[in-house]
């Protein structure tokens, strides 16, 4: 075969190789986020939050929300009656806690920061690793986590069923019958769906009040959506893609690093990846990142400006940003402008023991 013939055959070989590779690609595993429907695919524009979608399996009612609120603030759900949902998801701490990670029963420290409950209704998956597909499912987890509430579902149900006030409330909401873990979870989730912050100054700005943001905050919005690359992950009204990214956060125990999403999917690409948290109300709940390793918004932005940390599985979205001091200040100012002004959410106070069902 002469040289000229070879050159004519080469493109055909390349094309065949390409088709073969395409076939391989088609056999790839499905993306890990199966719960996100196609309408939610891809970056959404920043804007005010839409109404919460209520799952048909768990319709809202005033009585159910009230019951859920009682359960949310009731430490009797834990094994030693010291830890409630609100202990780690405290309204006064932006529905998270002081961190850096959360303290459970008997002073045990968890490995991760408490994700905020506010606006969690908009998250397609729950927990930092997304192991839970719904608020209802999520609500069951911490009760029997040995580090968090340290109880069993059975023991928790016995406790609740022994409290006449709860028996009445459950009967009012779910009718006659034994109290179940699912009912507890449904009620807590119903309450959590009311913890929605729709009225930050950013929201007012987006609704047309262009005077409400300062010049620096407007500049921060531009950078958030541009040079800062923030909206590559913190997109849409919820300011989160609900997906999982490895930011290169140095593990606290390098010999036993937190596997993140990998623990759920066993996909090597998910090693060390954690769910994108919402930026709404972020100013209320330092420290930041899944392990609370960045103490302030300023240090968090420095972290991103460096392009995150070093990790062999570092997300390709992480690149150094080259932000100036003013641009960093503008970003911080904008994130502070995402703090909610909703009185109904800000006014939620822990329910004192004396006012819990007896």
């Amino acid at each position: 075969m002469n040289n000229r013939t070879w050159w004519r055959i080469l493109p055909v070989c390349l094309a065949l190789a390409g088709l073969g590779a395409l076939r391989l690609s088609a056999e790839d595993k499905a993306p890990p986020i199966t719960q996100v429907n196609c309408q939610q695919l891809g970056p959404q524009r920043l804007g005010p939050l839409p109404p919460v979608v209520i799952p048909p399996s768990n319709p809202q009612s005033s009585a159910k929300i009230h019951l859920g609120k009682m359960l949310y603030f009731d430490p009797r759900l834990s094994s030693d009656r010291t830890i409630s949902c609100a202990t780690c998801h405290d309204p006064a701490m932006g529905w998270s806690d002081a961190g850096p990670t959360s303290k459970g029963i008997r002073g045990q420290m968890g490995g991760r920061r408490a994700p905020p409950v506010s606006n969690a209704a908009f998250s397609p998956l729950q927990f930092w690793d997304g192991r839970s597909p719904s608020l209802e499912d999520q609500a069951k987890g911490p009760i029997q986590n040995p580090v968090e509430m340290g109880n069993t579902h059975e023991a928790m149900i016995r406790t609740v069923a022994d409290i006449p006030g709860y028996v009445k409330l459950f009967k009012d909401v779910f009718g006659v019958g034994p109290i179940t873990v699912q009912q507890v979870a449904d009620a807590i989730a119903a309450f959590e769906r009311t913890v929605v912050t729709t009225d930050s100054r950013f929201d007012r700005y987006m609704r047309g009040d262009h005077q409400t943001l300062t010049k620096l905050e407007k500049q921060g919005l531009e950078i958030f959506n541009g040079k800062g690359h923030c909206t590559a992950c913190h997109w849409g009204p919820y300011f989160s893609d609900g997906r999982f990214h490895n930011l290169g956060v140095p593990p606290k125990d390098p010999k036993n690093p937190d596997q993140g999403r990998y623990a759920v999917t066993k996909n090597p690409e998910d090693m060390g990846a954690f769910k994108t948290p919402t930026v709404r109300d972020a100013a209320l709940r330092p420290p930041y990142l899944h392990d609370g390793s960045e103490k302030t918004l300023e240090s968090l932005i420095e972290f991103y400006d460096r392009g995150g940390g070093k990790d062999p599985n570092l997300d390709p979205l992480m690149v150094p940003l080259g932000l100036s001091r003013t641009e960093k200040a503008a970003l911080v100012a904008f994130i502070r402008a995402l703090t909610s002004l909703n009185p109904e959410v800000a006014a939620v106070k822990p329910i004192p023991a004396g006012k819990l069902p007896k």
């Binding site: 050159w7 391989l24 920043l46 590559a232 997906r243 690149v319 100036s324």
Partner: protein
């Protein structure tokens, strides 16, 4: 009168030579609701994120299959045009006027997971100065009608490591992109240099197929197999091929962070005789007496804060049959570019740049020796989503030749509009 006409021809030719089609694609910004600076240091120059987005087939890095296709979004069409005022001065006179320098119509998007496309059409723009041949003669347009790009991208055939571009595309050996050059009128001179009888245009988009990919640690490659004449159809049966290898040290892509070095080589053939050639039904010619040529070079991109120093140089060697000065010797030349960019103000609203171009032709071709010193300042009127306007001031001073050296100066003030 003759002097006037000569002057007009000179300025028209100069503008045609200087002007270049460039790309920024606000259709993507519209799709995502992002500002331009998500992908651009300042449009049209890509930042690291934008480079990864492009490499990933116009899909957000790591998000292939998790975003909308063109069927779920607004029509992905974008437009870019530049219009303004130029003042050109050479040894024969001074010429000035308002111009439309270029117009790009772009469409791009994702068709299916890991299958995307890019289409760029540059319509013909008439140049009034051509009217000296008579009204409507159509000579010397400011921009020729062309399908600058029309390609499909098959991404992640092997995740990150193998992507294919098929069609007409900007070849990856252009580590410094001439299509996303911040300068509007001052080109990369060595890209455009055509010496001797070889018509190969280094700056041209090529028709063919290219494989490219990246590996952990910042190593990237590109391998192409193309017509080589930058045109449709080809003028010979031989195809050209090229390879490029680059390595980024540190985080980023070397566009806006990290330090990148790269080497590239292009090997091709061009016909030297069409006297006995025939043409296929689709227009391909079998040009005779194909002779080979190659280009070998390297580039670097260094970043510090918002400063970016880019440089590249290559050596060109064409077969002696292309040498119209000394046919006993190969036609050898070299040249390069050094460009220092700075971005400042919030969200990179202000961009300043200095650039030096040099071209060194072989002995005997000194009249084509060239040095060009350029500077620009650009100010972006907004940081909006999917639309932007830049106020652009650019100056170039060129010296051409050695003995009978000519000098020219071009100052331009224009608006660069991208929608």
């Amino acid at each position: 009168m003759k002097k006037t006409l000569t002057t007009i021809v000179c300025v028209a030719a100069a503008l045609l030579l200087f002007s270049q089609s460039v790309s920024a694609i606000p259709a993507f910004a519209r799709k995502y609701g992002f500002n331009c600076n998500m992908c651009h240091v300042a449009f049209p120059k890509l930042n690291d994120f934008g480079q990864r987005f492009r490499d990933n087939g116009y899909q957000i890095p790591g998000q292939a299959g998790l975003e909308k296709t063109v069927f779920e979004t607004a029509v992905p069409i974008a437009l870019r045009t530049t219009t303004g005022y130029s003042l050109y001065k050479n040894g024969k006179g001074t010429m000035a006027g308002f111009h439309i320098y270029g117009l790009d119509l772009l469409a791009a998007g994702v068709l299916h997971k890991n299958i995307s496309f890019l289409f760029v059409y540059t319509p013909r723009i008439d140049e009034p100065a051509a009217d000296f041949h008579g009204p409507g003669s159509g000579d010397n347009p400011a921009q020729l009608a062309a399908i600058e790009s029309a390609n499909l991208v098959f991404s992640n055939l092997i995740k990150d490591k193998l992507n294919l571009r098929i069609g007409r595309f900007e070849p990856s050996f252009q580590l410094l992109s001439s299509k996303r050059l911040t300068y509007i009128l001052q080109p990369f001179e060595i890209y455009n240099f055509i010496g001797g009888l070889n018509g190969f245009d280094y700056s041209a988009n090529q028709l063919g197929i290219e494989a490219s990919g990246r590996f952990k640690g910042g190593l990237k490659y590109g391998l192409g197999y193309v017509n080589g004449n930058g045109a449709n159809p080809d003028n010979n049966s031989y195809k050209d091929f090229y390879g490029v290898l680059s390595k980024t040290i540190g985080p980023g892509e070397g566009q806006s962070s990290g330090q990148r070095i790269g080497v590239f080589g292009y090997f091709g053939w061009q016909p030297t005789d069409f006297s006995d050639s025939s043409v296929s039904p689709v227009g391909d010619a079998n040009g005779e007496k194909n002779r080979n040529f190659y280009r070998l070079g390297g580039s670097l991109s260094l970043n510090w804060k918002t400063f970016n120093l880019q440089a590249m140089a290559f050596r060109g060697v064409d077969d002696k049959d292309f040498n119209d000065i000394d046919p006993t010797q190969d036609y050898e030349f070299w040249g390069g570019i050094a460009q220092l960019d700075w971005a400042g103000l919030a969200d990179n609203r202000l961009v300043a740049s200095l650039m030096y171009n040099w071209v060194r032709p072989p002995a005997g071709a000194e009249p084509q020796q060239l040095n060009a010193f350029s500077a620009l300042v650009r100010y972006y009127l907004g940081s909006w989503s999917a639309v932007n306007i830049a106020l652009h001031a650019e100056y170039s001073h060129r010296t051409i030749g050695v003995v009978n050296q000519t000098k020219d100066n071009l100052f331009t003030l224009l608006l660069d509009f991208d929608f």
